[in-house]
Amino acid sequence: MKIESAKLFRRGWSLLTEVPGWPNAPIAVRWRRALPIALPAVGMLVLTGWKFAISNPGVERELASRQPLIGLEAKVAGLRISCTTRAATDLRDRASGAAGALMDGAQDLDGRLAELGRNASAQGWEATFQGVGNRGNQAPAATYVGCVPEKANFRPAAGNPHAWDTLLLILDRLSVPEQPIDLTSLTIRADEEGHISVDAGLRVLYLIADEKITK
C-alpha cells in the first residue's frame, strides 16, 4: 500500500513537473513547469480555506446577530397577512351579531320569559314557567356564553278553537335564531276529551359579562 502510494505520488509528480525532452530538468525548471497547474490548485485551496475558515463563520455570526430583527419583521409580515383590518372588522361584526341574539345576562331571564308568556297569551295559550335549580348559581356553559334551564307548561286558554295550529305558531316563534331560547324537550299530551297539555324544556342562553365582547 505504501509502495503503491509512493509510486502514485511519483507518477503524479512526474505528470505535474515533467519537462518534455528534459527528463533530468532541475527542480526550479520543474516547479516552473508545474505552475500552470499548481497555481490555480493553490488558489482554489486558499479560496476554499478562506471560505470555510473565515467567510462562512463570519456570515453565520452576522446572520445570528440579525436574526431577532429579521424574525420580528417576518412576524409582523405574517400578522399583516393573517390579521387584516377587513378580516378583523368582519369578525367583529359577526361577533356583534351573535351577541345580539343572546341575553345580556341571567338577570334578563324573567323579562324574556314574560315576553314569551305574552306571546303565548296572544295566541290563546296560558304559559307558566318554572326554574330548574338556582338561577343565580348556574355554571357557565363556556367562556363567554352561559345558559339557564327552564321548564314551561302551556295550556290552551278556554275557548281556543285552534289549539294545535296556534301551538305550532308559538313553537315556531320560539325557535327563531334571534331568540336566545332553545327547546330541549317537548311533551304533548291530549286526552280523549281533547284537552291538550304541553310541557317544554327550555335552555336560555346569555352573554357572560365581558367588556371585550360587546353588542
Binding site: 525532452g21 420580528l72 351573535a98 320560539l174 324537550s185 342562553l205
Partner: protein, 486 residues
C-alpha cells in the same frame, strides 16, 4: 564541412510510396533528416519529397556528446530553421532482437512482446521500442523488436530540443533497406538479401517486396578490414534462410566497400544475382522522409502518443483548475456583493425597528381580539340547539292521516347519549291493513325526512281497541326512536 554528396552520389531515387500513406501531412513542412549510422552522421533537409541540401560529418560520432558537438555545424551548414526532425539510427545501443510470440491471437502476441520488453526493462533499463512482424515459410508469429534505451533517447532528444528541434521520428536502418528490397525484387515476389555496412556495423536483412521482412541481423564487421568475415556472415545468413526458413535467396544487394563485396561474390555468387553499390544514407533518408510520425515502425510513435496524451491531460487539468479557480473567485465576489447588499438592507431594517415593534404590538392586539371574537362566535353558534322538537311535531302532524289521532308526542335531547329521542302514541281508525299501511308510510317518510328518523327495533305496537258496535275499528299505535342517529 559541407560534403559535396549530391555530386558524388547517384541521383536520389524517386520517393517510394509510404506504407502508411499518411506522409502528406508533412509534405509542405521542412524536416531535418539525420542518418546516424554507426559512427557517421549525414543529414539533409527535406521539403516534402524534395531534398534541399546535404551534410556529412567528418569525424567519428560514437556518443550523444559527439553528436551534440557536430549538431551545431550541421544546422549551420543546412541553415535549417524548422523544428521537425527525423533520425535514421544504427547504433550499438540500438538493439534488434527476434522474438517468436504465440501465434493464436494478436492480443497474446502483444502481451508476450510487452512481457519481453518488461523483462528487458528490468535487466537493462527502460527502452523506447517498437515491434515489426516478420514473415517466413513457417508462418509463425515472429517479430523483430527494436529497443533503444530511454536514457539514450532522452539525452538525444534533450540535445535536439536545446536547439529547438523536435524529434518526431526514429527509424532503424532496416526500414530504408526494405525499400532497397523493393527496388531489387521489382514486381517479382522473390526473396532478396540486402547487406549494408556503415562505419564498421553491417546490417543484413532478407525480405520480400512490399515491406515483408523475413529476418535481419546486425554484426560488427568492417568490409574493408574483415572482408572474409563479411563473406562468411552473408553466406551464413543465406544458409540460415534456406535451412531454417526454407527461403532460397537468388538476389543479393550489397552496400559497402569493394573488398567486402568481392568476398561475398567469392562465397555466394553461385546461382545468385549479386549487385553492389556504395552506401547512400541520404537516399535512404529520402525514402523514409515521407513516413508519418504514427507509422508503426517509428520507434518513438508510442512515446510521442504518450507525450501527447500527457500534454492533453495537463492542458485539461490546468484548464479545469483555472476554470474552477475563476468560478470560485466569481462566487466569492458575488457572495461579497450579496453580503454588502444584505448589510444595507439590514441597516434599513434596523432604522424601522421602532415602527416594527409598534406594528407588532398593534397587530398582536388585533390578533387577540380576533381570536376572542372567533371563539365567542364558535361558542354562541355551537351552543345553539337545532329546532328539532318543533320541526318533528310539524312533520308528524303533516304525515299522519286524518284517521289518526295523537295522544302523546314527546321529543327530548338526551345529553348523556347526545341524541334526540322521540316517542309518539295515538289511535288510528279503519281496518287493520289500512292502519298498518298508514303507519308504514309515516315511518318511511320520517326515515327519509331531514330528521333522518331511526325507529326502535321493538315493533311498534298496533292493537285493536274496544269500540262501540257499528263503529269503525280503532287501533292504538305506539312508536319511538331517535333523530339524526347516523
Amino acid at each position: 564541412m559541407i560534403a559535396p554528396l549530391a555530386q558524388e552520389r547517384p541521383a536520389a531515387p524517386a520517393p517510394l510510396p509510404t506504407r502508411s500513406g499518411a506522409g502528406n501531412a508533412h509534405s509542405r513542412k521542412a524536416a531535418l533528416a539525420i542518418a546516424w549510422l554507426g559512427q557517421s552522421v549525414e543529414a539533409a533537409v527535406f521539403r516534402g519529397a524534395a531534398r534541399v541540401g546535404g551534410w556529412a560529418s567528418s569525424g567519428a560520432v560514437a556518443t550523444v556528446s559527439d553528436f551534440e558537438a557536430v549538431l551545431g555545424d550541421m544546422l549551420a551548414a543546412l541553415e535549417f530553421k524548422g523544428t521537425d526532425t527525423l533520425l535514421l539510427l544504427e547504433h550499438e545501443q540500438f538493439i534488434h532482437r527476434v522474438e517468436s510470440a504465440p501465434s493464436f491471437s494478436e492480443a497474446a502476441a502483444r502481451s508476450y512482446l510487452q512481457a519481453r520488453v518488461a523483462r528487458h526493462e528490468r535487466e537493462c533499463g527502460e527502452p523506447v521500442w517498437c515491434a515489426q512482424r516478420t514473415v517466413s515459410a513457417r508462418q509463425d508469429a515472429s517479430f523483430m523488436l527494436h529497443l533503444l534505451p530511454t536514457a539514450f533517447f532522452d539525452h538525444l532528444n534533450q540535445v535536439l530540443a536545446s536547439r529547438g528541434l523536435t524529434l518526431s521520428r526514429v527509424y532503424p536502418l532496416i526500414v530504408p533497406l526494405q525499400y532497397e528490397v523493393d527496388a531489387v525484387a521489382g514486381a517479382a515476389d522473390e526473396p532478396v538479401l540486402v547487406a549494408a555496412e556503415m562505419s564498421g556495423v553491417t546490417t543484413i536483412l532478407v525480405g520480400r517486396s512490399g515491406g515483408r521482412l523475413t529476418f535481419a541481423r546486425t554484426i560488427r564487421a568492417s568490409w574493408a578490414d574483415e572482408p572474409v568475415r563479411v563473406g562468411v556472415e552473408v553466406n551464413r545468413s543465406l544458409l540460415y534462410a534456406k535451412q531454417q526458413l526454407g527461403i532460397v535467396v537468388r538476389k543479393v544487394r550489397l552496400f559497402g566497400a569493394d573488398a567486402g563485396v568481392e568476398a561475398v561474390r567469392a562465397r555466394c555468387s553461385e546461382g545468385r544475382e549479386i549487385a553492389a553499390a556504395d552506401p547512400h544514407p541520404l537516399d535512404w533518408l529520402q525514402s523514409i522522409a515521407g513516413l508519418a510520425p504514427h507509422d508503426p515502425l517509428n520507434l518513438v510513435a508510442g512515446h510521442l502518443r504518450r507525450n501527447r496524451r500527457r500534454r492533453l491531460l495537463r492542458a485539461g487539468v490546468a484548464a479545469a483548475l483555472w476554470l474552477g479557480l475563476a468560478s470560485m473567485a466569481v462566487s466569492a465576489w458575488s457572495d461579497g456583493l450579496a453580503r454588502r447588499a444584505g448589510a444595507q438592507s439590514f441597516a434599513a431594517l434596523r432604522s424601522r425597528e421602532v415602527a416594527l415593534r409598534a406594528d407588532l404590538d398593534r397587530l398582536t392586539r388585533r390578533r387577540e381580539a380576533m381570536e376572542r371574537d372567533r371563539k365567542f362566535i364558535s361558542e354562541a353558534t355551537g351552543l345553539r340547539m337545532p329546532p328539532v322538537p318543533e320541526r318533528a311535531l310539524g312533520y308528524l302532524a303533516a304525515m299522519l292521516p286524518k284517521s289518526a289521532r295523537l295522544a302523546e308526542f314527546k321529543v327530548a335531547w338526551d345529553p348523556s347519549e347526545s341524541r334526540w329521542a322521540f316517542h309518539a302514541a295515538g289511535t288510528i281508525e279503519g281496518d287493520e291493513d289500512d292502519a298498518h299501511a298508514a303507519l308504514d308510510q309515516v315511518q318511511q317518510q320520517l326515515e327519509r325526512s331531514p330528521l333522518r328518523a331511526h325507529f326502535n327495533e321493538t315493533p311498534r305496537v298496533l292493537a285493536a281497541l274496544p269500540v262501540p258496535p257499528d263503529s269503525p275499528s280503532l287501533f292504538g299505535f305506539n312508536m319511538g326512536g331517535t333523530f339524526f342517529e347516523d
